[in-house]
Symmetry: C2
Subunit: 152 residues, 2 copies
Amino acid sequence: MPGTRRLPSRHELAMWREFIEATELLRTAVAARLQEDTGLSMGDYTVLLALSEAADRRYRSSDLAAAIGWERSRLSHHLGRMERRGLIRREHCDADSRGSWISLEPAGDRAFHAATAPHLRAIRELFVTALTDEQVAAAGEVAAALRRHLTG
Amino acid sequence: MPGTRRLPSRHELAMWREFIEATELLRTAVAARLQEDTGLSMGDYTVLLALSEAADRRYRSSDLAAAIGWERSRLSHHLGRMERRGLIRREHCDADSRGSWISLEPAGDRAFHAATAPHLRAIRELFVTALTDEQVAAAGEVAAALRRHLTG
DNA sequence: ATGATGTAATTGACACGTCAAACACCGAGG
DNA sequence: CCTCGGTGTTTGACGTGTCAATTACATCAT
């Protein structure tokens, strides 16, 4: 594998720094906006979205973790916090007593529905309108290439 | 401001999700590699890099925070952890007794120098080689546009 | 049945990040 | 001098993320 041990050029390094810093900025800006507008974190929103879209509006914990691409223990910790706030509920699973069903509490359902429009607006204002249509497409292609490279 | 309250299209939303997930993947992959290879976190590396490049190899805490774009309290917490590990030192500042000088300990200097090449290689392997030259340039432009939009 | 092996989910310890409050000190105006 | 508003830095509380270990159950081979 030729080139694997080569170092990035000055220009490539500059692109890396610009990229990593800007994406961090974007992430925190959107997260802060979501928090202000709705009291939810990005993690909360991700979990609530997945539960809302689930076939029967519930998930086995492991399946939920897989669906949103999280590690199991990360999800477990997060669900603990969401449960304390009354956003979701854990129920015993009859078919497999090791497992549990995760479902929305009414408050979680309400919070998610109230959050959707503001969150999408924030995405538009902070991400979409920052870029030309070509740049949005380019961002998508870059992201897809990175994902293939990192997971494939 | 027309369009500010409009919602993103399905396509724009898909690009957003792809983008935010891929950048998260990239960040954690590079961080994990740095940790394995060198025992340093991205934060450690950022701080050590800034100190190494400082004119007299030291910084006032606030200036360091500004230089790397961190909040003051974030830096303070991080410096506490790095100090415990013997990577940096805090010294009393004569000119202003509220402040302190942050400088490298020998161990921090060594750790940084040992980390540079592996880290740059990881950046190359995980970021640069994932993309074509055009995509690297596009990523840089997207990042620059986002930064202008978010900070400007 | 029993015991090895695997899987579902949680836990504990710890690093990291943010916010608001606290602390210690500066420098200027009365 | 002194006190008062501003600045440099730290602290505490808490949410978040990772890793390794644990708990509790399922399953399969014998």
